[in-house]
Amino acid sequence: MKILVCISNVPDTTTKITFTDNNTQFNTNGVQFILNPYDEIALARAIELTEANNGSVTVINVGEISTEPTIRKALAIGATDAVRINALPHDAWFVAYQIAQYIKANPFDLILTGRESIDYNGSKVAGMIAELLDIPSVSIIKKLDIDGNSATVEREIEGGKEVLTIPLPFVAGTAEGVAEVKIPNMRGIMSARTKPLNVIEAVSVKTLSDVISYETPAPRGQVKLVPADDVAKLVSLLHEEARVI
């Protein structure tokens, strides 16, 4: 069984987010980048699924050379080989298009992504890849089991979950619960250095969206406490400051 896991290079969760160039670029100065945590879950499940049957797990990333340490980490965790499409990930559509072109030339039985990347939280790449390949997709799954040519997945829905059976191949975005993340061991780290990492060029594609600017959220205001019996003060604050009445 051949599984493709799409991985994303994202800022570490403790990063202080700032922007440069007049708020048009994310400031990467001093930022630590990591493998997107939800992608780690996808990778762990893919490795579990292929261990039993001598399958393979390819990881693919759209990024410049700076993403290679993260790709090597995925190899250290246990991926068989890796592909880097040499381009900046302009947006989800660009990323999905590149990956879909790769899959058209190199078919897989199953394609996994994390449910979302922790930088842009779009949850779009999985659905877009699937639509480009005209195969099913489930954007956020909590459980994944394979039985021959089909899979049983649990999809999260409002107030519960839904169990689906889907024929292979399909694309799914993994959430917590699908697998425990794997820590790379010494052997994994050593072998990661020599596992294949193929770099291919991106194909050109129409741009469908652009980021115009970023902004950080407004700092949280101070709480004003009003004594319970001072209604006049409350009314005046609501009228004059909050302007809601």
């Binding site: 939280n121 779009g122 779009k124 639509e131 956020i140």
Partner: protein, 131 residues
């Protein structure tokens, strides 16, 4: 030119979030000076569908078929895309629900349209783009 809004139902009933999304879509249609069409998929009563009119939908497309009673991402996306083309929709609005998140990227690809996820305000539509 028009705006299309996908009105998700839960067991044949619309939730508050559905009416909110219709109101949001109505505001956008007003900004564009165009009409708003709602599309519902599944088994929803006529009375329930009529309620969408109260929130601003001028037309309601009702797609009901036993096989579509439960959400199927690929099938629903195809239906909504067809409706968008037929209605000449410039903008398709979906709620940020689990199903909406599954549909939006597929729709974007089908309609070759950008996908603005997680919108928290009305857009600026003045220069022909969705900002």
């Amino acid at each position: 030119m028009s705006v299309l809004v996908y009105t998700e139902n839960a067991d044949g009933k619309f939730k508050k979030s559905t009416f909110e999304i219709v109101s949001y879509a109505r505001a956008i249609a007003n900004q564009l000076g165009t009409k708003l069409t709602a599309i519902s998929i599944g088994t929803v009563s006529a009375a329930e569908l009529a309620a969408l009119g109260k929130y601003g939908a001028e037309k309601v497309l009702n797609v009901s078929n036993d096989k579509l009673k439960n959400f199927i991402n690929q099938a629903y996306a195809s239906i909504i895309a067809e409706a968008a083309k037929k209605e000449n929709a410039d903008i398709v609005i979906l709620s940020n629900s689990f199903s909406g998140r599954g549909l939006a990227p597929r729709l974007g690809v089908k309609l070759e349209a950008g996908v603005a996820d997680g919108a928290v305000a009305l857009p600026d539509l003045t220069d022909g783009n969705f900002r």
